[in-house]
Protein backbone atom coordinates (compact mmCIF):
# COMPACT_ATOMS: atom_id res chain seq x y z
CA UNK A 1 0.00 0.00 0.00
CA UNK A 2 1.08 3.54 -0.73
CA UNK A 3 1.88 5.50 2.37
CA UNK A 4 1.78 9.29 2.32
CA UNK A 5 2.90 10.78 5.61
CA UNK A 6 2.40 14.37 6.62
CA UNK A 7 4.65 15.54 9.39
CA UNK A 8 2.09 17.18 11.64
CA UNK A 9 -1.63 16.55 12.05
CA UNK A 10 -2.21 19.76 13.98
CA UNK A 11 -0.20 22.97 14.16
CA UNK A 12 -0.82 26.32 15.78
CA UNK A 13 1.31 29.22 14.61
CA UNK A 14 1.32 32.98 15.02
CA UNK A 15 0.92 35.56 12.30
CA UNK A 16 4.22 36.23 10.60
CA UNK A 17 5.86 32.94 11.52
CA UNK A 18 7.47 30.76 8.88
CA UNK A 19 5.73 27.41 8.59
CA UNK A 20 6.99 24.18 7.06
CA UNK A 21 4.63 21.35 6.17
CA UNK A 22 6.38 18.16 5.19
CA UNK A 23 5.08 15.29 3.09
CA UNK A 24 6.88 12.00 2.53
CA UNK A 25 5.81 9.12 0.27
CA UNK A 26 7.21 5.63 0.06
CA UNK A 27 6.10 4.48 -3.40
CA UNK A 28 8.52 6.23 -5.72
CA UNK A 29 5.74 8.30 -7.28
CA UNK A 30 6.79 11.02 -9.67
CA UNK A 31 4.00 13.48 -8.98
CA UNK A 32 3.29 15.21 -5.70
CA UNK A 33 0.65 17.80 -4.86
CA UNK A 34 -0.32 20.21 -2.10
CA UNK A 35 -3.99 21.12 -1.63
CA UNK A 36 -5.83 23.14 0.94
CA UNK A 37 -9.38 22.34 1.94
CA UNK A 38 -11.81 24.88 3.35
CA UNK A 39 -15.53 24.58 4.12
CA UNK A 40 -17.62 25.55 1.14
CA UNK A 41 -14.60 25.80 -1.16
CA UNK A 42 -13.62 22.16 -1.54
CA UNK A 43 -10.03 21.20 -2.29
CA UNK A 44 -7.90 23.75 -4.10
CA UNK A 45 -4.51 23.03 -5.64
CA UNK A 46 -1.64 25.14 -4.31
CA UNK A 47 1.44 23.65 -6.01
CA UNK A 48 2.49 20.43 -7.64
CA UNK A 49 5.71 18.80 -8.71
CA UNK A 50 6.38 16.34 -11.53
CA UNK A 51 9.96 15.59 -10.61
CA UNK A 52 12.76 16.46 -8.24
CA UNK A 53 13.49 20.19 -8.20
CA UNK A 54 10.51 20.83 -10.50
CA UNK A 55 7.46 22.73 -9.38
CA UNK A 56 4.37 24.19 -10.96
CA UNK A 57 1.87 26.66 -9.58
CA UNK A 58 -1.62 25.44 -8.96
CA UNK A 59 -4.73 27.55 -8.64
CA UNK A 60 -3.87 29.41 -5.42
CA UNK A 61 -0.06 29.66 -5.04
CA UNK A 62 0.03 33.15 -3.52
CA UNK A 63 1.62 33.18 -0.07
CA UNK A 64 3.14 29.71 -0.50
CA UNK A 65 6.29 28.14 -1.85
CA UNK A 66 7.42 24.55 -2.19
CA UNK A 67 10.58 22.51 -2.22
CA UNK A 68 11.31 19.10 -3.68
CA UNK A 69 14.95 18.21 -3.17
CA UNK A 70 14.33 14.46 -3.02
CA UNK A 71 11.79 12.40 -4.89
CA UNK A 72 10.04 11.15 -1.78
CA UNK A 73 9.69 14.51 -0.02
CA UNK A 74 7.59 17.55 -0.93
CA UNK A 75 7.52 20.51 1.43
CA UNK A 76 5.04 23.37 1.58
CA UNK A 77 6.37 26.62 3.01
CA UNK A 78 4.44 29.58 4.32
CA UNK A 79 7.05 32.33 4.44
CA UNK A 80 4.98 34.58 6.68
CA UNK A 81 1.82 32.92 7.91
CA UNK A 82 -1.41 34.89 7.92
CA UNK A 83 -4.77 34.16 9.49
CA UNK A 84 -6.36 33.50 6.10
CA UNK A 85 -4.01 30.54 5.72
CA UNK A 86 -5.75 28.74 8.54
CA UNK A 87 -6.89 25.59 6.79
CA UNK A 88 -6.56 21.85 6.31
CA UNK A 89 -3.56 21.08 4.10
CA UNK A 90 -3.50 17.83 2.16
CA UNK A 91 -0.56 16.27 0.37
CA UNK A 92 -1.14 13.79 -2.45
CA UNK A 93 0.98 11.68 -4.76
CA UNK A 94 0.42 10.05 -8.13
CA UNK A 95 2.60 7.77 -10.25
CA UNK A 96 3.99 9.07 -13.49
CA UNK A 97 0.83 9.41 -15.54
CA UNK A 98 -2.05 11.78 -16.11
CA UNK A 99 -4.93 9.57 -15.10
CA UNK A 100 -3.64 7.57 -12.19
CA UNK A 101 -5.30 7.84 -8.83
CA UNK A 102 -4.19 10.31 -6.22
CA UNK A 103 -3.07 8.99 -2.84
CA UNK A 104 -3.64 11.45 -0.04
CA UNK A 105 -2.07 11.90 3.35
CA UNK A 106 -4.12 12.33 6.51
CA UNK A 107 -3.90 16.11 6.34
CA UNK A 108 -2.37 18.84 8.48
CA UNK A 109 -4.72 21.22 10.19
CA UNK A 110 -3.01 24.58 10.55
CA UNK A 111 -4.35 27.36 12.74
CA UNK A 112 -2.74 30.79 12.44
CA UNK A 113 -3.48 33.13 15.32
Amino acid sequence: DVKVTQSSRYLVKRTGEKVFLECVQDMDHENMFWYRQDPGLGLRLIYFSYDVKMKEKGDIPEGYSVSREKKERFSLILESASTNQTSMYLCATRWDGNTGELFFGEGSRLTVL
Binding site: N31, G42, L90, N98, T99, L102, F104, G107
Partner: protein, 110 residues
Protein backbone atom coordinates in the same frame (compact mmCIF):
# COMPACT_ATOMS: atom_id res chain seq x y z
CA UNK B 1 -11.31 21.43 -17.91
CA UNK B 2 -14.95 20.42 -17.56
CA UNK B 3 -16.73 21.60 -14.47
CA UNK B 4 -18.77 19.03 -12.57
CA UNK B 5 -22.13 19.46 -10.87
CA UNK B 6 -23.46 17.05 -8.27
CA UNK B 7 -26.07 17.23 -5.49
CA UNK B 8 -24.88 18.86 -2.31
CA UNK B 9 -26.32 16.17 -0.07
CA UNK B 10 -28.20 12.87 -0.07
CA UNK B 11 -29.74 10.68 2.60
CA UNK B 12 -30.12 6.93 2.50
CA UNK B 13 -30.78 3.97 4.77
CA UNK B 14 -28.62 1.00 5.50
CA UNK B 15 -28.92 -1.77 2.94
CA UNK B 16 -30.15 0.48 0.15
CA UNK B 17 -28.44 1.10 -3.15
CA UNK B 18 -27.30 4.69 -3.56
CA UNK B 19 -26.85 6.39 -6.90
CA UNK B 20 -25.09 9.75 -7.10
CA UNK B 21 -25.26 11.48 -10.46
CA UNK B 22 -22.75 14.01 -11.68
CA UNK B 23 -23.03 16.20 -14.75
CA UNK B 24 -20.02 17.29 -16.80
CA UNK B 25 -21.43 18.80 -19.95
CA UNK B 26 -18.15 20.10 -21.33
CA UNK B 27 -16.13 16.93 -20.99
CA UNK B 28 -13.40 16.63 -23.61
CA UNK B 29 -12.48 13.60 -25.68
CA UNK B 30 -9.43 12.68 -23.64
CA UNK B 31 -10.95 13.34 -20.22
CA UNK B 32 -11.67 10.62 -17.66
CA UNK B 33 -14.25 10.56 -14.87
CA UNK B 34 -13.07 9.78 -11.38
CA UNK B 35 -14.76 9.51 -7.99
CA UNK B 36 -13.24 9.98 -4.55
CA UNK B 37 -14.58 9.41 -1.05
CA UNK B 38 -13.63 11.47 1.97
CA UNK B 39 -14.28 10.80 5.64
CA UNK B 40 -14.00 13.58 8.24
CA UNK B 41 -10.42 14.46 9.17
CA UNK B 42 -8.98 12.26 6.43
CA UNK B 43 -7.72 12.81 2.92
CA UNK B 44 -9.88 11.75 -0.03
CA UNK B 45 -9.60 8.17 -1.20
CA UNK B 46 -9.94 6.98 -4.79
CA UNK B 47 -13.05 4.91 -5.47
CA UNK B 48 -13.35 4.34 -9.20
CA UNK B 49 -12.47 5.77 -12.60
CA UNK B 50 -13.92 5.29 -16.06
CA UNK B 51 -13.97 6.60 -19.59
CA UNK B 52 -17.22 5.22 -20.97
CA UNK B 53 -19.93 2.57 -20.42
CA UNK B 54 -19.69 0.73 -17.12
CA UNK B 55 -16.88 0.08 -14.70
CA UNK B 56 -17.23 -2.07 -11.59
CA UNK B 57 -14.87 -2.82 -8.74
CA UNK B 58 -15.26 -4.31 -5.28
CA UNK B 59 -16.57 -1.03 -3.88
CA UNK B 60 -18.78 0.59 -6.51
CA UNK B 61 -19.98 0.79 -10.08
CA UNK B 62 -19.66 3.70 -12.43
CA UNK B 63 -22.13 4.20 -15.26
CA UNK B 64 -21.25 6.55 -18.10
CA UNK B 65 -23.70 7.07 -20.99
CA UNK B 66 -22.58 7.28 -24.58
CA UNK B 67 -22.49 11.08 -24.67
CA UNK B 68 -20.36 11.14 -21.48
CA UNK B 69 -22.03 14.33 -20.28
CA UNK B 70 -22.95 12.72 -16.99
CA UNK B 71 -21.96 9.79 -14.84
CA UNK B 72 -23.52 7.88 -11.96
CA UNK B 73 -21.71 6.37 -9.02
CA UNK B 74 -23.61 3.39 -7.64
CA UNK B 75 -22.94 2.12 -4.11
CA UNK B 76 -24.63 -1.23 -3.47
CA UNK B 77 -26.18 -1.92 -0.07
CA UNK B 78 -24.71 0.99 1.84
CA UNK B 79 -23.83 0.80 5.51
CA UNK B 80 -23.36 3.46 8.16
CA UNK B 81 -19.64 3.48 7.38
CA UNK B 82 -20.37 4.75 3.88
CA UNK B 83 -21.39 8.12 5.34
CA UNK B 84 -18.89 10.45 3.69
CA UNK B 85 -18.40 13.14 1.07
CA UNK B 86 -18.21 11.84 -2.51
CA UNK B 87 -16.42 13.87 -5.17
CA UNK B 88 -16.89 13.57 -8.90
CA UNK B 89 -13.94 14.81 -10.93
CA UNK B 90 -13.03 15.12 -14.56
CA UNK B 91 -9.36 14.41 -15.17
CA UNK B 92 -7.64 15.65 -18.30
CA UNK B 93 -5.96 12.79 -20.10
CA UNK B 94 -3.67 15.32 -21.77
CA UNK B 95 -2.43 17.26 -18.77
CA UNK B 96 -3.50 15.26 -15.71
CA UNK B 97 -5.21 18.37 -14.36
CA UNK B 98 -8.22 17.79 -12.17
CA UNK B 99 -10.50 19.95 -10.09
CA UNK B 100 -12.33 18.97 -6.90
CA UNK B 101 -15.83 20.41 -6.62
CA UNK B 102 -18.03 20.69 -3.55
CA UNK B 103 -18.84 17.01 -3.43
CA UNK B 104 -21.98 15.21 -2.26
CA UNK B 105 -22.40 14.57 1.43
CA UNK B 106 -24.03 11.16 1.82
CA UNK B 107 -25.67 10.45 5.15
CA UNK B 108 -26.58 6.81 5.74
CA UNK B 109 -29.15 6.27 8.46
CA UNK B 110 -29.87 3.10 10.42
Amino acid sequence: LAKTTQPISMDSYEGQEVNITCSHNNIATNDYITWYQQFPSQGPRFIIQGYKTKVTNEVASLFIPADRKSSTLSLPRVSLSDTAVYYCLVVSGNTGKLIFGQGTTLQVKP
